[in-house]
């Protein structure tokens, strides 16, 4: 373990921001919480009956879940609550004439293949393929709504109503309520990953794995096809059939944003928007803080950043300032420890950025910029530096960049900078000195009582190492970059804890000033163990954490996995005080646990949502991705 003192540059960086460390983070709550959101900080004690490690074919091939929780609240003496798992809907099921997960083109028509089959974001009967990732439960008016988002290269979203049994709280999808959400006014959707039910009860989604626009410009042929299947597939959205020979309507800058779905509880009317204001990168999750202005944004991939958006107006994410994090490392022990500073990427609004993407306000004409409209480039020197421009190292590797005259007003000025900051957020942030070395940043959740943010990191690798790849020497992830993060490789990943404080310069009560390891997975060699040899992280610990959700007012941080290093993916209840870890859910073989999210008070009932994604054929779920809830709890 090496401890370093803060260096001068870091201190300067810190001083640029006006942190207020007093009066925050205490047990007595945090300024800025809107009481109208219903977030209470009453103390809840919860412990769950553990689920055993699946070791036989029966438990490995089915969902296992905790059946009992011991709960104590301000109004409840200690009591045992029996809970169950309730399936809501699986991909491919039909309701109201719609097929859950069917993908449609820009005209709203199903995408039909040569055998007349329609494209459902659901893979094969054997469970191979993409599918549903997240669903939100929204309370609007007297209604409960479920918004589901699908993780295919042509994204899809569906809304349904939920029926709630007034006695038991049991949830079910209402008959004849499933509706396709038309995303075409904002160029359609793309690889929707995790999401959040915002404090104002809307669905905040994500578009993951934005395509490298530089690659598109270099590789696209006359029909816009690049040879990159990941990008080319989206051409089908812009086609009238399943052909993807014509990508001329497709532009990489259309995707990689944060969509929001709002529902009117009196009319069921859907409002769909994309928050171009919050930047374009590989959005895993956008997580709104209780002030309804501050949003943390995780970036899932290789050599990625961590971002924060502060809206001008609570509940309106379309206007505000975007910030990128800088990791100022203090310790390399374990998952590391750093002082976090924030780099201002500029203030703008969604309408202004949308006007750059679609100047003629006709989505079917591809008049968005090209990469070379955003940046001038040159070839880096062998040592990663640049002859004249600014050297960066991001998911696109080592590059030399300079912001161009994007708006063609003959000046390269702040107006161009702010466009670059949104269309090419990660590259632009790196140019400003932000850290773009994180590796597979995943879920985010918030503990209001202690004023802590939790961020999952699927693995500590590559850019997060010091000129290494998976423990072996490799310079390419740090070449020409800051090499801010210098940690030891951990393939099992971990969850970080970020301390927050009010920052008057930034204008938010929730600005992270430190980031340190909370809990790490432990690489474990089971190769000689015939029963456990398909695992290579400690089976009694976390492995490649993915989505996380904190039960407000308790000590319970739930951590879900998307791991190849545990044979069955698991969800854990981690007690942040006594550091105990309880296995509360396991998925069937092949499945990932996505979408855990606590809904603490839905008409007096509490649930945790889950999605079991891509279970194997032969499991009880037999290949189908399904949504469900664990409950009903009572935490009130």
């Amino acid at each position: 373990m090496k401890l370093k003192t803060l260096n001068l540059a870091m201190l300067m960086a810190l001083s640029a921001s006006t942190l207020s460390l007093t009066g925050c983070g205490g047990e007595d709550g945090v300024d800025g919480i809107d009481s109208s959101t219903g977030i209470g900080l009453t103390d809840i004690q919860v412990s769950f009956a553990p689920v055993a490690l699946p070791v036989d074919s029966i438990t490995k091939n089915d969902i296992q879940f905790t059946t009992e929780a011991e709960v104590t609240t301000a109004t409840q003496t200690t009591n045992l609550q029996t809970v169950g798992y309730t399936k809501l809907i699986a991909t491919g099921e039909t309701n109201n004439g719609e097929t859950f997960g069917a993908v449609k083109n820009y005209l709203g028509n199903p995408i039909q293949f040569a055998d007349t089959s329609e494209y459902i974001c659901n893979g094969t009967n054997d469970g191979v393929g993409s599918g549903l990732d997240h669903f939100s439960i929204l309370e609007q008016g007297d209604n409960l709504y479920m918004i589901s988002q699908f993780e295919c290269q042509i994204g899809a979203m569906y809304m349904s109503k939920l029926d709630q049994d007034s006695t038991t709280g049991a949830l079910s999808v209402a008959a004849n309520s499933l509706k396709f959400i038309d995303q075409s006014p904002e160029f359609g959707g793309f690889v929707h990953c995790a999401g959040q039910t915002t404090p104002w009860n809307s669905h905040l989604g994500s578009e993951e794995y934005e395509t490298d626009a530089r690659m598109v410009e270099a590789d696209a042929d006359i029909s816009g096809i690049t040879g990159d299947k990941y990008y080319d597939e989206t051409a089908m959205f812009w086609s009238t059939d399943s052909s993807k020979d014509d990508a001329t309507k497709l532009n990489p800058y259309y995707y990689g944003w944060t969509p929001e779905v709002q529902v009117d509880g009196s009319t069921d009317a859907i409002t769909y928007m994309k928050h171009y204001s919050m930047g374009r990168f590989s959005h895993e999750l956008a997580y709104v803080m209780p002030d309804q202005k501050t949003v943390y944004l995780s970036d899932d991939g290789e050599n990625v950043g961590l971002f924060m958006f502060v809206a001008d107006t609570a509940g309106d994410l379309s206007v505000g300032t975007l910030y990128a994090a800088k990791w100022n490392q203090v310790s390399d022990a374990g998952l590391g420890n750093a002082v976090m500073t924030w780099i201002d990427l500029g203030h703008t609004d969604s309408a202004s950025i949308r006007a750059i993407l679609d100047p003629d306000t006709d989505i079917t004409t591809n008049d968005a910029p090209k990469f070379s409209d955003i940046f001038a480039t040159e070839t880096p020197n062998p040592d990663g530096s640049c002859p004249t421009l600014t050297a960066v190292n991001t998911s696109a590797g080592n590059e030399c960049l300079q912001v161009a005259d994007i708006n063609n007003d003959t000046f390269i000025d702040a107006a161009d900078e702010v466009i670059a900051s949104r269309l090419e957020t990660r590259r632009y942030a790196a140019m400003q000195g932000a850290t773009t070395e994180f590796r597979k940043e995943e879920g985010i959740t918030f503990n209001a009582r202690d004023n802590k943010l939790y961020v999952a990191m699927s693995e500590v690798a590559r850019g997060m190492e010091d000129n290494m790849k998976n423990g072996a020497p490799e310079t390419k992830y740090d070449l020409g970059g800051n090499n801010d993060i210098k940690l030891d490789y951990n393939k099992c990943g971990g969850v970080y804890e970020l301390d927050l404080a009010a920052d008057s310069t930034i204008g938010s009560a929730y600005v992270a000033y430190s980031m340190k390891g909370l809990i790490a997975g432990t690489p474990t060699d089971y190769s000689a163990n015939a029963v456990l040899s398909a695992n290579s992280c400690d089976v009694n610990g976390i492995s490649m954490p993915d989505n996380v959700t904190f039960l407000e007012g308790s000590d319970v941080l739930v951590i879900g996995e998307d791991s190849s290093l545990h044979e069955n993916n698991m969800m854990w209840s981690y007690n942040i005080k006594d550091k105990s870890l309880t296995r509360i859910f396991t998925t069937p073989l092949g499945a990932e646990t996505t979408s855990p999210f606590w809904h603490k008070d839905v008409n007096g009932f509490s649930y945790m949502t889950t999605v079991t994604q891509h279970p194997d054929i032969g499991t009880v779920q037999n290949g189908e991705t399904e949504t469900g809830v664990i409950g009903t709890f009572n935490f009130n």
Binding site: N125, V128, Y209, D241, N470, A530
Partner: protein, 574 residues
Amino acid sequence: MTMKHISLLSFTSTLITATLLTGCNDANNVSSSSPTKDYSIAHPVTVNLLNRHIVNNDAAYIPAQCYTKTAGKDDKIHNPCFSCHTEGLAPNYINDSAFQMEYDFRTYSRTNRWSNLFKDRSVDVAKISDAEILNYVRTSNYINEKDEITLANRLAKVPEQWDVNQDGKWNGYTPDSYFNFDQEGFDVAPDQQDTGWRAFAYAPFFGTFWPTNGSTNDVIIRLPETMRQDDSGNYSRQIYKLNLAIVEAMITRKNIAISNTDEKRYQVDLNRNGVLDNSTAVIYNWAPTEGKQMSYVGMAKTLQQQNKLHLAAGLYPEGTEFLHSVRYIDQKENGGIQLADRLKELRYAKKTSWNKYSQLYNAAMGEEFESTQFPDRLRRVIGNSEEGVINGLGWTYQGFIEDQNGNLRPQSFEESMYCIGCHSGLGATTDSSFAFARKLGSEQHQAGWFHWTQRGLHGVPEPKFPDGSWQYTEYLLQNHSANEFRNNEEVIAKFFNADGSVKNAEIDILHNDIGHLLLPSPERALTLNKAYKVIVDEQSYIYGRDAHVKPVTTSWDIVPIDEKTGIKSPVIHN
């Protein structure tokens, strides 16, 4: 031939696609370990069939051939890669042609764990006499003297050490072909009933599958029982033949000649002329989005209408089975070679579920997505020794292999993983398989419905790619050799001049007789048989099952990071 421009940036994602990874152990600390096991003393490998424990290779689905060093002497570039890694024809949505240019292994799989490749078997091979090996390969380990299937007898009382779920029953495939084919290629049981299996002749796939490189092979097909039945559910060979012709048309996307058939009897317009009349061909004319449908006949027609049985170009109906025997090489009295009675392996495949085009598309794209997110994640193979392994695209695979005494036994899970690398994630396959799409056409002997024991490879003309080029000639030109390991000196001497150019006179012969290339000399056959017998004695299949005497020198033991093959642009023949 289409050559698609693919930039370097796009490779990384395109390449990774091919391996259809769904994740498994990713040990990253292995690059320092030596892959070469010491087999100077041949300890038999202990095989445990009851668990899924991986002894040697978590990436056993990647065959040894993929570790070939493409750069040869004088930096000459050899491209055997194009055989498998190409642009698939929908609904095979895999385009892995970029693998021709870059190895792009994962951290774990950069290490070649097929360490048998590096073994010198000279001493062991020398201990086996010609008479001994000939006697061995001529002794059937499949059919006994009472015309019973030996392995089926054994499975009827499943040994405890084979019974994964310990239920006292065998839950996998029980061999039921007698390899007793009549003049239409149908397998006939001792009770004179059709078993449903039908042999077909095909142009063997490239390299490894040529007898000159180690083994003789056959493949037979069986459609589900309902496709062999008339409307009343009675077996009808005539209906079965028609349905096989229809499947052949759907797989090859060609018209298939049939004997003169009265369409009225089946109420299906086979020749697609708009009226029910007499037909001499199944005309391939399928475009359902344009209203052009095709139909099976008999009971299958009804089931198809009820959506219980499916028909689509490039796909087999659910329930289709293949049986593929891999055999030693026997020699005829007159010096030619033939299939041995002894099986090295019996490989079985069954289509257990139907996937629509859109599902197969999503699967291909989902793998792309997975590989982008988890570039070090290995493929997780589902299944076990008893029930077989699945490829994720609707097929289950199961294999039987010789035990130390030469009797067939189920393959272990790790041995079974070997099936999956070739039967998924490749551009070259048709609905995950190889042979039937390469079936000899109706102009050939018995319209291509015969078994290699009935007529051999001699006289079979060289197949052509759709673009008209000669397939095997192209392989020789691209690979400058006859197999991936480039250790077949016999073919090299026969087909190549000293300067590396091909001998045109030999190529001319090849065009009309693939046996000229594909069949080894009897002497070579004996040597290959002995080399493989050494592996059987060791039971060391998990370290590689390729027959060679001297160590292979053209394989990487550890593929360098970012290693390129030296092939500048992919060879694609669609």
